[in-house]
């Protein structure tokens, strides 16, 4: 029997939403780790019962929780994220040097093959890896020590490494995205990195050809076509057909090309979803209407998906890690809002309904398709 498990991270705890393959009736468990910010929770593709959760508060710092039974029970594992060597400085908002300081884990990306191997993207931007189920964390310092690292600056939300994509077809290829530095690629399992941002244009950057300094909000790939990447940048929706070497804009007829998340349909590599947000100063949907936009042409031509989503007086945001898809035959799309709703569509976005309406602000949504 197939089913779906949706891992929801919120400002005040984690929630686990479960349903069978029909996705009509949902069970809700939580809050787990009540009162803590859950930036991200994600399951291992190699063992769906292995879950990792990033739990933090400004008071008591970072915890990593692990479950080996699909969220029935949890164990706090290692929480020491020490930058390798003398961390040095990056640029602060005003352009002055600022020491690299660990704040929190934004994103956890379990290995595609080994449940005990998991990557962590952190603020201040760096990539860590654990090979023992989260007990110990080692920085992959080639990223932070890239020659451009001392020039990276934070975005408004902090200087976070928020996206980690593992190429399922090329051993050792990893993409990482940092606000506001850009996208980086490693072809040697994270030892060395280079920026892959050619073609991005960012207002306010003096040099339009700048190698870094771009506020990438999220990147996404389809596992069967990993050289094609889609990006929601601060402004602009972008596409690369050569593993990030070159990017071109595919915002097309979107009502606004500002936004945070971007996802690819589970079975259609050219079907892409974004949630347009009014602007960088107005973090809510245009006209108070929550619309997910879908392109079935790999970008440029977009259609609004509205059936079941609030079309008046809606002023929520959808954050960068708060949209995901399942891989059931009719692909499901899931969107979590800062208003505490998680909306689901079991028909590729045609119709939507809320699974839950009144959670704390949703920070992340990750979906596991269970067999």
């Amino acid at each position: 029997m197939t089913g779906v498990r949706v891992l929801v991270g919120t400002r005040k705890g984690a929630f686990v939403l479960t349903s069978d393959g029909t996705r009509k009736e949902w069970g809700v468990s939580g809050p787990h780790f009540a009162g803590w910010e859950i930036y991200h929770a994600k399951g291992s593709p190699a063992d769906p019962d292995r879950l990792y959760v990033s739990q933090s508060t400004g008071w008591f710092g970072q915890q990593i929780q692990r479950s080996d039974d699909g969220g029935q029970s949890w164990q706090a594992v290692g929480n020491e994220f020490s930058y390798e060597g003398i961390p040095g400085t990056h640029q602060w908002y005003d352009g002055t040097p600022h020491p690299w300081e660990f704040a929190r884990v934004w994103h956890l990306e379990p290995s595609l093959h080994d449940p005990d191997t998991v990557y962590a993207g952190v603020e201040d931007a760096a990539l860590f890896r654990s090979v023992d189920g989260g007990q110990h964390w080692q920085e992959l310092s080639g990223l932070r020590n890239h020659k451009t690292g001392s020039h990276w600056q934070p975005g408004a939300g902090g200087m976070c490494l928020h996206t980690i994509l593992l190429d399922p077809t090329r051993e050792g290829r990893i993409f990482a995205a940092i606000s506001a530095a850009g996208t980086f690629r490693s072809d040697d399992s994270g030892e060395s990195w280079r920026p892959v941002n050619k073609g991005l244009r960012s207002e306010g950057i003096p040099d339009p050809e700048a190698e870094t300094g771009h506020c990438v909000h999220r990147i996404a790939m389809h596992p069967t076509r990993p050289d094609v990447l889609f990006m929601q940048k601060h402004w602009d929706v972008m596409r690369s057909d050569d593993a990030g070497e070159n990017w071109h804009e595919v915002s097309g007829d979107l009502p606004t090309d500002f936004g945070f998340p971007i996802s690819v349909h589970a079975h259609e590599p050219d079907t892409v979803y974004v949630v347009p947000i009014t602007s960088d100063s107005l973090h809510f949907p245009p006209d108070g209407r929550l619309r997910v936009f879908r392109s079935r042409t790999g970008g440029n031509e977009w259609e609004p998906l509205t059936d079941g989503l609030p079309q008046q007086n809606c002023y929520v945001n959808v954050l960068r890690d708060a949209m995901d898809v399942d891989s059931l035959d009719d692909c499901g799309i899931y969107v979590g809002t800062t208003g505490g709703q998680v909306y689901a569509s079991a028909d590729s976005g045609e119709t939507w309904s809320p699974i839950v309406r009144d959670l704390p602000a949703v920070l992340s949504v990750e979906v596991q398709t269970l067999s």
Binding site: W36, W59, F60, G61, E80
Partner: protein
């Protein structure tokens, strides 16, 4: 035995419901310091490492405060001797999450 009162989130994390008691005199009979108490607390409950003091520097986290016997010990060094009533177990060492946020 000394008594340590933890904030709610750290009690949950450590899996305790009330005060924590630590036998410090047996381990460090000469002078028992604030740092000794925190070391013993973290040794008993490893999950608390990094939640009260920074892993790397050992410094108190910014939004955590220490009080005992109506005194604010937050800015005292790690080798600050704990007050006698704390050592005697008649007063607890309080670990407080600062009031901040909403």
């Amino acid at each position: 035995m000394i008594r340590v009162e933890l904030p709610a989130h750290l009690r949950t994390l450590a899996g305790v419901s009330g005060e924590v008691t630590l036998d410090l005199r047996a381990e460090a009979p000469a002078v028992v310091t604030l740092g000794d108490a925190l070391d013993a607390l973290e040794a008993r409950y490893p999950v608390l490492r990094g939640t009260i003091r920074d892993h790397r520097t050992g410094c108190r986290r910014a939004f955590v405060r220490f009080f005992a016997c109506m005194q604010d010990l937050s800015h005292e060094p790690a080798d600050f001797p704990l007050p006698e009533p704390v050592l005697a177990g008649s007063e607890p060492l309080l670990v407080i999450g600062a009031m901040a946020g909403g």
